[in-house]
């Protein structure tokens, strides 16, 4: 079975490019050029240099001794939280900005939910001296103030998305509308493995550095390059795509994708797309998405703004449907417990998103000798207010 994208931009029955004609030339330009540009030696040299010296790669693969004891298995953490700007998102923005420059684009737009992708985009635009406009739902602007401040500090213009539910999906709509209005000079940096082909494949390739490093690091530490399990959280699914990428065609590596159950999968307040979604079209891609019987997209819920997306990347829809990956869902409460656990056992404060992956450790049934890699996609600085509130740590 084949898990990478086919020549028409599909993963099994999912993917494609369902875009209005106004976007067709832009998407087509990208489709025709992305692989060529990405494989050019000078592009790779510039990208690898920045990943090493600016982003701080390779990120460590850390054997979490006390966490391993607790779960009676061998737990390794892939420390994407140690990247510059605090999450895996910058792997993709560095790559796409370099690509945009080679396409001659001078204006960069992006969408953001929790603000991590927006910050990563604004950061690289500052570095490259490019104009940067970030669309962010009005609701998210209020609940993610520190990241809004960082983007402004970096010189980006943050535009509130005031349509629809005023969160990530609407920010994405607004970014797409901007691209329709500015087809000549503008490049749209999508932050996840979503959107029309070639975005899901392109973003997965830029994030695949995660599993590429994992293999080399595992070989050095355990003598084997393949782990028994790779566990990652999935909203749109970019960190999971990167963590799974080089293991997709190695069936003995079990892949575990962890979605946000919110208040519970059946509570009506959830973001577990693989359970609650049906096949449809969102943001130019055929995939699983949460929607009404009439085909209107519904608003998901999770305590974690980064997992709060009604769809899922088409690769993950395919991994789910084909059974290649196992999907788990973790509630807000379970994720918060995992935050506290990692903080107190290992001295690492994880992002809420990554905590969903950690919380699945007790569910996967790993044996004592199994090697389990959890992709620690981001650090928890942005979530400190939530943590202080929920753990009652305000005051003394």
């Amino acid at each position: 079975m084949k898990y990478t994208v086919d020549e028409n931009g599909f993963y099994g029955r999912f993917g494609g490019a369902y875009v209005p004609e106004m976007l067709y030339p832009n998407v087509e330009e990208l489709r025709q050029n992305y692989l060529k540009i990405m494989s050019a030696p000078d592009f790779q040299e510039e990208l690898q240099g920045l990943l090493r010296d600016y982003v701080g790669r390779p990120t460590p693969l850390y054997f979490a001794k006390r966490l391993s004891e607790k779960y009676n298995t061998q737990v390794y953490l892939k420390r994407e939280d140690l990247n510059h700007t605090g999450a895996h998102k910058i792997n993709n923005t560095v790559g796409q900005v370099l690509l945009a420059k080679r396409l001659g684009k001078t204006r960069i737009i992006a969408e953001t939910g929790a603000g991590q992708h927006g910050v990563a985009t604004a950061t690289v635009c500052a570095l490259m001296n490019l104009e940067c406009i970030v669309y962010m739902g009005e609701v998210d602007i209020k609940r993610q103030a520190p990241n809004v401040a960082r983007m402004k500090m970096l010189g980006a213009t943050v535009v509130p998305a005031t349509s629809g539910s005023r969160t990530l999906k609407d920010a994405t709509n607004e970014a797409i509308r901007d691209w329709i209005n500015n087809p000549e000079d503008t490049y749209y940096i999508i932050g996840s493995v979503v959107g029309p082909h070639p975005y899901p494949d392109m973003v997965a390739r830029f994030q695949s550095v995660i599993s590429e490093e994992m293999k080399a690091q595992l070989l050095e530490k355990t003598g084997q390059e393949n782990p028994d399990y790779v566990v990652a959280c999935v909203g749109g699914g970019s960190n999971a795509a990167g963590a799974f990428y080089h293991f997709l065609d190695t069936p003995e590596v079990k892949l575990v994708a962890v979605e946000a159950a919110g208040l519970g999968v059946d509570s009506g307040e959830s973001a577990a797309t693989s359970v609650l979604g049906k096949e449809g079209i969102i943001h130019g891609s055929r995939t699983l998405l949460m929607q009404t019987d009439d085909g209107q997209v519904t608003e998901p819920y999770s305590i974690s703004a980064g997992l709060d997306y009604p769809g899922v990347g088409p690769l993950h829809a395919h991994l789910h449907q084909s059974g290649r990956a196992r999907f788990e869902s973790i509630t807000d409460e379970e994720a918060l417990q995992a935050v506290l656990e990692l903080t107190r056992l290992e001295g690492i404060i994880p992002a809420l998103e990554s905590a969903h992956a950690l919380a699945a450790l007790g569910r996967i049934g790993a044996k004592p000798e199994d090697v389990v890699v959890v992709n620690l996609s981001g650090r928890g600085d942005k979530d400190l207010t939530t943590y202080l509130d929920r753990f009652g740590l305000h005051g003394n």
């Binding site: 369902y18 209005p20 106004m22 030339p25 349509s163 709509n173 509308r177 329709i180 209005n181 085909g295």
Partner: protein, 262 residues
Amino acid sequence: MATRLQRLFGQNQQGLLSVYFTAGYPKLDDTVPIILELEKSGVDLIEVGMPFSDPLADGPTIQQSSEVAIRNGMTIPKLFEQLQDIRQHTQIPLVLMGYLNPVMQYGVERFLQKASEIGIDGLILPDLPLADYVREYKPLFEQYGLSNVFLVTPQTPEQRIREIDSHSNSFIYMVSSASVTGSTGSKGVSNTDYFQRVAGMGLRNPGIIGFGIHDRDTFTQACTHARGAIIGSAFIKALAKEGSLQDNVRTFIQSIRENEKV
């Protein structure tokens, strides 16, 4: 047998006025009264919008009307129910316009069959890719006698315009400029090079121009470059005004067409 659309465009008439509105807006049951009043006011073609939660090619006016329509309870089954007897009342060409996802959930073939039974003439689904249409759906559209209408833009390459023309059998929707719906800047209708380029291609299908057409000036100007023009957002704004629905429709259409000699 020529369809209503083919008859309309076969008459060599210039200055065709097509009007778009969102079904279920301002009130759920306004769909049929709006259609009938538009016909009475002399409109040539009507595009009935099927509201979608995430209309990514639309500007704020159509976004908002879609939100209201969905809140009012508009759905595809509801729209078909409203239009069930429409052909007993009017023979004006009717085209349904919307996004692919709600149609997919209803079932594409079931949708085409039902639309055909009611007497709908065509469909505009901007996010249905040309390649998918040709591969999967074209035989169904033909089986049910419905025209699929494609968009072209100033950025669409000539070869692709020709391909679109070869798969069209009523008209081509010429997006006036790089923009979402409802923009009122002047860049739209002043895109003369593009209009002339398309006009000079000798296409089988006539073109009508949409996006950014919002008053008599822009309508008249657009009509000098194509067989007609489409007004959407400006009409929806007019529907929101105080006064009766009928008065609002009539007054708006008069404001576009008064003094015009046909």
